[in-house]
Assembly symmetry: C2
Homo-oligomer: 333 residues x 2
DNA sequence: CGGGCGCTTTACAACGTTGTATCAACGATG
DNA sequence: CATCGTTGATACAACGTTGTAAAGCGCCCG
């Protein structure tokens, strides 16, 4: 509850001098500095961030806008962003949009103008161009898919290549009817991963069967299970499946097992995201492993640089990934 | 970027009148109200929350302090708290303590004084009494375990009874060597669940074997796997295990399967938290299912009431739970 | 017709902080 | 000795908002 005024009174100096000490201003007489520091301790002074920000025009907050915390990938990412932001003395405001475009818009419209210095956005329903209208002047870093033509900073992996590598791995196992789960009409990442899937099949000289490409409107376990059920009900079911995230893969495995289809011998499964859940599931999940810590660090870093220098040209950061091979594609066939 | 001043100039009234319109003050001449509302729209005015809060002495932020977002239980809970807080027009600041007491202290010490109206805390290493010292005067609601003697609002389930029910279920299956995973020297919830475990065994006339109680210093999948490995390496391994959370259970199942122990026939497993992961794992996990939505709602509600009326006596809210029976205890033996 | 009351609006101050301008003291420089 | 630059401290204003007090207006009642 102590304010600068209280500290100043106790130390016998002006408010501004205390402020100077607090902010590390160099030219303060040692004697006064000592007295002020003592007074700071005895009063237990804590700056009022609201007031400071009002004056400085900065808030010290950044928003992390993502679809849902219950999706482990986002939970893990959020944890890492929290950590990375802490190093820059930023507080993170996590906002769930629940996948609706309105959610994403409202969030930015209400917080945008004054309460945040910038935002890290993992878009889902949102079209990136919405930001121009809704959060004018707010520094934004996008995660995941990006449209290169948009002048917005962006961090992500090469989704096309990652998907290609994943499917090539299935090809190398000798699988020939390789399905994909996760196609989506409006999601950029889905389009890219689908493209990588097609490239890998083409490289292997395998035909692309449209009935082996399963749509998933959400990327939850349930959607993966439903998609797998559909695939298995078809005339000639697949012998492998590439799922666009680990949750879909978990659901797919579950649905397969329930129908007596063995993983990996009857059905090899590859996921995407390398969530810890996949590493412990039975069987453990082969998956594309993006470097999440690198993504979080790069996003925070990019945002910091943009806040400091708003006019710099937008940057696109490619973070590395690897293919984590586990039981769901090991042995069998 | 528009301020009250801009809107006032445009509408031809004073700043305060605009403020009155914005805040729904009743006595504004209809004509003026109309003009102001029009000006609000054309300027796209958004209140500067920082300034408003500085003046009002409220911030509109609450902190949600929890150990780790990567633990699905906390991620799910955080999502629900976010939703519940939104209804009260609160923004939620999620803080990860990573289980260290310093983390929990620092967080509250820096945000406490000015930036938050209150905090919902899920303590782990933290001793509840720390709050008295570190966040003096900040309304706090505790989740999970509680010491009744502390004058702090609290929300949680009856851990003793929940554990008793879970273990009684294992007893009813005919298991006789029932282990527990998750004992912990400093965690209140661990003590309570252990107590419930002992009660259930006593009620069944089964002896408590100390070597069947496995400690877990963290509640991660890895710790569950390690604990199960230890239990299986012992002379006479258990035929069932009650894990103090779902992550431990997932790890335990994994470790069992790796050693050729079948779940549930050789080893029945019960978890705690009813995370979605457990529902989809293979085999799906029988688990104690707390009503997380109720917890989130009650916590936010309790906090709101305490903010409005700081002197009311502390309240302890018991939220309901159920036992969700799934494959990991079905059939077998 | 004057005093009081309800409606409506406004000026002002204040929340706690920091940037700017100013001022004073001092030693060094020409 | 006058001037200048450096060091150190301070008063003031301002960030955008809202509570308080007060004032103007019209109306009713005594």
């Amino acid at each position: 509850m102590a304010t600068l005024k209280d500290v100043a009174a106790l130390a016998g100096v002006s408010v501004k001098t205390v402020s100077n000490v607090v902010n590390g201003y160099a030219f303060v007489k040692p004697e006064n500095r000592r007295r002020v520091e003592e007074a700071l301790l005895t009063t237990g002074y804590r700056p009022n961030l609201g007031a400071r920000n009002l004056r400085r025009g900065r808030t010290g907050f950044v928003a992390l806008v993502l679809p849902e915390l219950v999706v482990p990938y986002f939970a893990e990412l959020a944890g890492l962003v929290l950590g990375a932001a802490q190093e820059h003395e930023w507080n993170v405001l996590i906002e769930q949009t629940l996948g609706t475009r309105e959610g994403e818009r409202d969030t930015l419209a209400s917080l945008g103008p004054h309460m945040i210095d910038g935002a890290i956005v993992s878009p889902e329903a949102l079209e990136a161009r919405d930001f121009g209208e809704l959060a004018p002047g707010i520094p934004v870093v996008m995660l995941g898919e990006h449209s290169v033509d948009l002048p917005i900073d962006h961090v992500g992996i090469d989704n096309v290549e990652a998907a290609r590598v994943a499917v090539a791995h299935l090809v190398a196992l000798g699988r020939t009817r390789i399905a994909a789960i996760g196609a989506h009409p409006h999601r950029g990442t889905a389009a890219q991963r689908l493209a990588g899937y097609r490239i890998a099949l083409a490289e292997a000289g395998l035909p692309v069967h449209d009935e082996l490409v399963a749509t998933a409107l959400n990327y939850h376990r349930r959607d993966g299970a439903e998609a797998m059920a559909r695939l298995l009900a078809a005339d000639s079911p697949p012998d492998a499946v590439f799922c666009f995230n680990d949750l879909l893969a978990v659901g797919a495995v579950r649905a397969a097992v329930e129908r007596g289809v063995r993983v990996p011998s009857d059905m090899a499964v590859v996921g995407f995201d390398n969530t810890e859940e996949g590493a412990y599931s039975v069987p453990s999940l082969t998956t594309v492993a993006p470097d999440k810590a690198a993504i979080a660090r790069a996003a925070v870093d990019l945002l910091r640089r943009r806040v400091e220098e708003p006019e710099r040209p937008p940057e696109h950061v490619r973070t590395p990934f690897s293919l984590e091979i586990r039981e769901s594609t090991r042995g069998g066939a």
